[in-house]
């Protein structure tokens, strides 16, 4: 496959001296460059530099084009969900309809760009011309590849294609018709000829009528022309006439027109003669009207219309090549020409390749290739990294979207439909979405959770938790750690909570701690925190025996941090000193054991008060339990 070789584009950076080495840094969607030098050992005193932010000519930042991206995203997702069980043939109308949807989105975008007034218009002109070209190419691809019309219908579709993209004739016609004497308007004959070139014979006849009225002397000539125009056969795909029958009819008509030309029926009227020659497909005459045709592909279609209306798809390339050569003369084909030629040659891969090279946005090639792939029109090449062309292009396109602050969400769907590498690309890029707000973080998380991207979920939650800890928002940090299932971090934050309590005597973020539920089981320390708070609640509600039981279990379960043991014992004191006996004898024994254990470690600590209280309690408890209730 020959490649359109394009020299790399040079971008000049003002403010950097030529020949000076540059340093650079890749960023999301841009690259930073700056002037630098050899690793000199010391200060060079050569002053500071500017850092230049260089970006690709990114269309994703254009607000009008954004609509294009958003709406085509819908169409794309719809296309992916078409059931695969039906044979491709019966899905053709669906594919054609989707193709038309894409095209109408392009056109809507073009219209909007056109209506942009003022200085914006100059900025958008290039966008419009690109979209024009894109729609032209896409339409042709639809006609040739997706609709894949057979001989007969093929020409009719191509005729539609050309008419759609060459409609300045209507503007001209309007101007002519609105004038006082249309037949004498200077554009009159241009309009007539344009109609003929487009095969719009009805319109031609109507126009010629006006001229005929002005030239009563040539009445018979005009009548003849009118008759010839009216008799030109057009193939009717839905009709009963076969292609062969049509061909015969057409040849007969062609011969008739030829006869009239040869016997000089139109010799006295140069214009009518020209029309006659066009009807016969006279290439020289056609080429004399390059201005009206304006493009070689228009020339091609007109040529086919009047020379070979039953052209088969396989014959197109020959006519296309010769048309291009004849029309362009010595001119060099432009990228658009090569692309269209490749289409006429049914070389889909070449079309895609050339489009990729000529356009700086992957949107077009990605969506078109995807559609063609669904139509099973792409042979699967074995690609180097195991994926295929469709996926390669979609990945490129979606990666480009990812740097945009809102379009990245569309990109997710594209990755979802790339079976080989979509997931790993998504994992890599979704981590980089800046988590500006909690809301955005939750949005990103939801996307990751839906796809079981557990590592990304953990990482994002950890980042948010860390950020919260640094800003001393312990409650937020805790809930993020829990979400990350990060036991270690949850432990850390629980410690901080407990330290805070020791310092201030109260808990912050009570709501969160009170509603931990089963999540408190994530880490021992967290469980302790939750249960300890519960203890405080019970105590506050004066449910002393429950509080006591809980306190005891906290001590014996050994989930309390060492630093907290004295605090717990101190918490037990008021319960021990209540008038009513709260701790049973057995419970008191357990408390005593704990104290004994811990005194070993807190040997410097004065536990006299606690020992005394425990002893007293034990005594009371024994008495209470030993007393018979009468």
């Amino acid at each position: 496959m020959e490649e359109v070789d394009v020299e790399p584009v040079v971008t000049n950076i003002s403010g950097i001296r030529p020949g000076k080495r540059m340093g650079f840094a890749w960023g999301p969607g841009d690259i930073l460059v700056y002037e630098t030098q050899n690793k000199a050992s010391g200060p060079t005193g050569s002053g500071c530099a500017f850092i230049h932010v260089v970006r690709k000519d990114e269309d994703i930042y254009s607000p009008i084009l954004r609509k294009l991206f958003n709406e085509s995203h819908h169409i794309f997702v719809g296309l992916q969900t078409i059931k695969d069980d039906l044979p491709s043939k019966s899905k053709k109308p669906q594919f054609v309809s989707i193709s038309r949807n894409y095209r109408s989105v392009i056109r809507a975008c073009m219209e909007e760009l056109q209506q942009a007034a003022g200085e914006l218009l100059t900025k958008y002109i290039h966008h419009v011309s690109i979209l024009l070209a894109i729609e032209l190419i896409w339409n042709l691809c639809e006609v040739l590849f997706i609709d894949a019309a057979p001989a007969g219908s093929l020409l009719l579709h191509l005729l539609d294609w050309v008419r759609l993209h060459k409609s300045d004739v209507d503007e001209k016609a309007k101007g002519v018709l609105q004038s006082d004497s249309p037949a004498e308007h200077r554009d009159y004959w241009d309009v007539v000829l344009s109609y003929v070139l487009q095969g719009r014979l009805e319109d031609t006849r109507k126009m010629l009528m006006k001229q005929a009225m002005l030239q009563p002397a040539a009445k018979s000539m005009y009548k003849l022309m009118d008759s010839l125009l009216s008799k030109m056969p057009f193939y009717n795909p839905g009709g009963t006439q076969t292609l062969t029958e049509f061909d015969v009819k057409w040849r007969n008509w062609h011969e008739e027109v030829d006869r009239y030309l040869k016997d000089n029926s139109f010799a006295s009227n140069q214009h009518l003669e020209v029309i006659c020659k066009i009807l016969l497909g006279d290439e020289d005459v056609l080429l004399e009207h390059k201005e009206l045709l304006s493009t070689w592909y228009y020339f091609l279609i007109t040529r086919l219309l009047y020379c070979h209306p039953t052209v088969k798809p396989t014959e197109l390339h020959y006519y296309a090549q010769s048309s291009m050569m004849m029309f362009l003369d010595s001119g060099v084909p432009e990228p658009l020409d090569s692309i269209l030629l490749a289409a006429f040659e049914f070389d889909i891969h070449q079309v895609i390749k050339d489009c990729s090279i000529a356009l700086n946005n992957w949107w077009f090639v990605a969506h078109l290739t995807d559609l063609l792939d669904h139509c099973k029109l792409l042979q699967s090449h074995n690609l180097h990294f195991g994926s295929n062309l469709r996926e390669f292009l979609l990945l490129e396109y979606a990666s480009g979207l990812f740097t945009h602050h809102s379009l990245w969400q569309c990109a997710v769907d594209y990755f979802d439909h790339c079976p080989e590498f979509g997931r790993v690309y998504l994992e890599l890029q979704i981590e980089r979405v800046p988590l500006d707000t909690e809301r955005k973080a939750l949005k990103v998380l939801r996307i990751c959770e839906e796809r079981q991207m557990s590592e990304q979920v953990r990482s994002i939650c950890k980042i948010m938790a860390m950020r919260a800890v640094r800003n001393n928002r312990l409650g937020s940090a805790l809930s993020w750690s829990i979400r990350a299932k990060d036991a270690a971090f949850a432990t850390l934050i629980s410690e901080r909570f407990l330290q805070d309590y020791c310092a201030k005597g109260t808990f912050s973020d009570l709501d969160l701690i009170d509603n931990l539920g089963s999540t408190m089981l994530l880490s021992d320390r967290l469980t302790f925190l939750g249960k300890y708070r519960e203890f405080h609640k019970l105590y506050g509600e004066k449910c002393f025996s429950d509080a006591a039981k809980l306190l005891l279990s906290l001590m014996t379960a050994k989930i309390a941090p060492q630093s907290f043991w004295m605090t717990l014992l101190t918490d037990a004191l008021p319960l021990l000193e209540q008038k009513e006996v709260i701790f049973s004898a057995e419970q008191t024994y357990e408390l005593m054991y704990c104290l004994e254990d811990w005194t070993f470690l807190f040997h410097s600590f004065n536990t006299n008060q606690t020992q005394l209280a425990l002893a007293r309690n034990l005594a009371s408890a024994i008495v209470k339990e030993g007393t018979m209730q009468t």
């Binding site: 002037e35 500071c48 260089v54 000519d57 011309s129 700086n360 890029q429 860390m466």
Partner: protein, 383 residues
């Protein structure tokens, strides 16, 4: 491509490194003026310097961000033979209003006896770990076991590479199939000393790093080295800046379970570009490893891309033209024109349409062909 904006870096001397943070919202710059500056990007895309402080007593060669999972942490390395770790402290509210933040030094790593030429944090799955390399030919790997206490770093490994080191790159792969790995480049210019790129791999059994491979074909001084982000591939891709740009593929070979040494790597050269026609100083991959950038003494930054057949090509060049900076930032050249028509012709095509016309199906003419097409100015999307 176009210059979207230019930031006055305000350093008093040469800038040696610029580093974006993980999310692309902050950047750090370091300079021969011995300071580091941290910049924050506002919502409208403007960069503001939120911190600037002296970090070393010599030129600062590199600055790098740790993964945000560890908080806001920077590491810098310098000619003064040290590397340092810095953490941002959330300041007083009035500081925040003034858009300032404070960074404090958490530790100084003083083990090197010569200029520390590079510092890089290890992939996050390895914990908070960093590697430094020095002109004395030693790579040092430090770890902070307690993420909440950044003042405690311990030297875990000291690896002598025998040659003066200039750059180091960690393999970002977190796949279980790939043990931790880094590549180190040497700027020793004596070509008889053999391969200037060494690959080291961590061995779970010996708990040490051992040399897995030396790239013997790289005999000239290496100035920069970069592993590409791993996209689920089984092999590794490494870019090297030396007298030219080279891209290597390192394929781990399956080995017997009985061997205890590092993985055997098959080394293949994927591409070699001498377009810079001079020493290449930096190479770096973009996030998806689809683009490689290199800068050389020819005063250019070149962008390299592989098409779907893995053929590499230069897709763009950035070069200084010495023109003075204008006040306004550049304008994009918009979408590239495919037809190469002039603005005038497009204007005509558009003028043909009346603004108020609302047709059911808007029909447009493709721009008129010029007999002499203007030079096509576009950035090819090389696929």
């Amino acid at each position: 491509m176009f210059v979207a904006r230019s930031i006055a870096a305000d350093h008093k001397d040469l800038i040696h490194d610029v580093s974006y943070d993980f999310h692309g919202r902050r950047m750090a710059t370091c300079s021969s003026d011995q300071s580091v500056k941290v910049w924050d990007k506002s919502e409208n895309g403007e960069w503001h310097c939120t911190a600037s402080w002296k970090t070393h007593s010599g030129s600062v060669w590199r600055v790098t961000w740790a993964h945000p999972e560890f908080g806001q942490v920077l590491a810098s390395c310098s000619f003064d033979r040290t590397a340092a770790v810095w953490e941002e402290i959330v300041g007083e509210s009035n500081d925040k209003q003034r858009g300032l933040s404070h960074w404090i030094k958490r530790t100084t790593l003083v083990d090197s006896r010569t200029s520390v030429t590079d510092v890089k944090f290890a992939p996050k799955h390895m914990g908070l770990m960093l590697a430094t390399c020095s002109a004395d030919g030693v790579v040092r790997i430090y770890e902070a076991p307690d993420v909440m206490n950044l003042s405690q770093w311990s030297l875990q490994h000291e690896i002598s590479c025998k040659l003066s080191c200039s750059c180091i790159s960690w393999n970002p792969s977190s796949s279980r199939a790939h043990p931790p790995m880094f590549a180190v480049g040497s700027d020793d210019s004596n070509v008889t000393y053999g391969g200037k790129v060494q690959i080291y791999e961590y061995n779970e059994n010996t708990r040490k790093y051992s040399k897995a491979e030396t790239l013997m074909t790289v005999t000239d001084a290496v100035h920069d080295i970069a592993f590409a982000p791993n996209l689920g591939r089984s092999f590794h891709v490494l870019a090297i800046a030396t007298k030219d740009v080279r891209i290597f593929k390192l394929v781990p070979l399956r080995r017997e379970s009985t061997t205890t040494g590092p993985t055997k790597l098959e080394v293949q050269i994927v591409a070699q570009f001498d377009n810079h026609n001079s020493q290449v100083w930096r190479v770096s991959w973009n996030i998806t490893s689809t683009l490689l950038a290199s800068s050389g003494d020819d005063g250019c930054v070149r962008l390299w891309k592989a098409n779907y057949m893995d053929n590499w090509k230069c897709t763009g060049i950035l070069k200084g033209d010495g023109s003075p900076l204008t006040g306004s930032s550049g304008q994009p050249s918009a979408m590239s024109t495919v037809v190469g028509s002039s603005i005038q012709t497009s204007q005509n095509a558009l003028n043909g349409m009346s603004a108020g016309r609302i047709a059911k199906r808007a029909s447009f003419a493709p721009p008129l062909r010029q007999l002499t097409s203007p030079k096509i100015n576009q950035s090819p999307a090389y696929y």
